[in-house]
């Protein structure tokens, strides 16, 4: 549980303006356009597949990921990678509005 909380603090994705998003890691703040966000979603989805995760664990146990048209390089360990995947998917998954 504590590990999750720690991860949550180090990586955050939020909508910045209408078409800009902000990815905050423990070392930098990266502004993403929507196509760059789609590219990040694709890369993170591929890395979090069962097979890819096994490969990462068997190798160095971390990944270096290019972000925002290769302008930034971020370091992610497995919990951070999984958390980032969840964080991105929350932007893309459907939600139901609740009227109170």
């Amino acid at each position: 549980m504590n590990a999750d909380v720690h991860v949550e603090k180090t990586i955050q994705l939020k909508e910045f303006t209408f078409c800009k998003y902000q990815l905050t890691t423990h070392t930098k703040v990266i502004t993403l356009s929507f196509p760059q966000l789609l590219q990040l979603r694709k890369n993170v989805k591929e890395l979090t597949r069962h097979h890819s995760l096994h490969q990462i664990i068997d190798a160095d146990n971390f990944v270096l990921l290019f972000v925002a048209d290769k302008q930034h390089l971020i370091y992610l360990d497995i919990p951070q990678l999984l958390f980032l995947n969840k964080e991105i998917e929350s932007f893309f998954s459907s939600f139901k509005s609740v009227l109170i």
Partner: protein
Amino acid sequence: MKTAVRKQMTINPVVMDLLNNQIALEMEASASYLAMASWCDQRELLNSKEFFYKQAEEEREHAMKIFTFVNDNGGAALSPQIQNVNNDFESLRSIYEASLDQEINVTQSIFNIFKSARKEDDFVTEIFLQWFITEQAEEEDKFRSIIDIFDLMEGMPLKMIDERLPKE
């Protein structure tokens, strides 16, 4: 569809992923038809070679149609990697049978995307895919008719069968 990125995209993200898989499938089919065209071309099967060259182009057009659709609706179309294209065939008939199998796979994949679009209330994709459903029914029919010709002309020289086959 209600997602945080709805302002940027008209199509559903889940459906977009499936459409990208479909692009890859159509391009794989195109590459496969090109290999078949080459096999026929080397053996002077003139009608069949023309037929498969056209099929290869047609499949690429299908892929491009989906490709531009994804980008036009705010998504990200991905140029696919094509690997393991089979260039070895045992007979002309087996080529047409493999083609029918391939078309059936493509049709099933379109059906799955259609179902997914319906489930996610992605009406834009649903309407877009209607053309593909009609097209796939025609494609399957075309290959079944050709295989029927093989059955009818069983035992005849290959060149003679080829002359009875359609060029497109």
